[in-house]
């Protein structure tokens, strides 16, 4: 069983969205993922980091933390912010629900994370922050095919 982990923190700036998803993809390469699996993870990371920047910190800045780990063939990413938190997680995860329609947010971020990863777990405390943990088993397609 091979295991590995990495952590980074970065300011909640929109230009770091591409940086975060690229770092996660570079770390995940050791699992020998397909291009599709890499894209799935990059997309899910981008959603979670964007949520932290726009919603967690209301675009006013803060620090976003990303922890990635590999345990066997399972990739796990946790995105943490110390922003305003989510009062109603169930509502926030509903398709098309957005607290920022004025910013042209589609309300599909959590749905995209759920579609592209195997599991998405959200823990949040209003006023303290939000932690999104996502897992994906890599190599399922080849193992089955």
């Amino acid at each position: 069983m091979v295991s590995n982990e990495m952590s980074i923190t970065f300011p909640a700036l929109s230009r770091n969205e591409a940086f975060a998803r690229s770092v996660a993809a570079a770390f995940m390469v050791q699992l020998d993922p397909t291009i599709e699996e890499l894209t799935d993870v990059r997309t899910a990371i981008s959603e979670a980091v964007t949520n932290a920047i726009i919603h967690g910190y209301s675009q006013k800045g803060g620090t976003v933390r990303m922890d990635c780990s590999i345990d066997g063939d399972v990739f796990t990413a946790t995105i943490t912010d110390k922003g305003r938190g989510i009062a109603d997680i169930e509502q926030a995860m509903q398709p098309f629900f957005t607290s920022a329609p004025d910013l042209e947010r589609s309300g599909m971020g959590f749905c995209v994370m759920q579609a592209f990863m195997d599991s998405v777990d959200v823990k949040s405390t209003p006023g303290e922050g939000t932690k999104v943990t996502m897992t994906k088993r890599i190599g399922l397609v080849r193992a089955d095919g």
Binding site: S14, T39, R105, M108
Partner: protein, 103 residues
């Protein structure tokens, strides 16, 4: 993200390339809206063949422009999305609003 926009009569064709996320969405929105202020525009063709990455921020850009065009009785056509982008577009029901074009 880079975008080439071609205007011909009442039609705009936007070729979006690279990565469209929350960071680049503001620029995409500004570029499109600058030309959509022309009330004569009735058709927006969005060519995604060169788009390598898009997250749900891209949905906001597309839906926002769809509302403008549909509001004046026009139509939006989208084509060329790769597998992951197409999945996001379908998830949000974009093809029930915009027409899919084969390109």
């Amino acid at each position: 993200m880079q975008m080439e926009i071609e205007a011909a009569g009442d039609r705009l064709t936007a070729r979006i390339k690279g990565e469209l996320d929350h960071h680049s969405a503001a620029q995409a929105r500004a570029q499109l809206d600058a030309l959509l202020t022309d009330e004569r525009i009735r058709e927006l063709r969005i060519d995604l063949r060169g788009l390598t990455f898009m997250d749900s921020s891209g949905l906001g850009v597309i839906l926002g422009r769809y509302r403008v065009i549909a509001g004046r009785g026009g139509r939006v056509l989208i084509g060329g999305a790769n597998r992951a982008i197409d999945r996001i577009l379908r998830m949000a029901g974009i093809y029930t609003l915009a027409e899919h074009m084969d390109i």
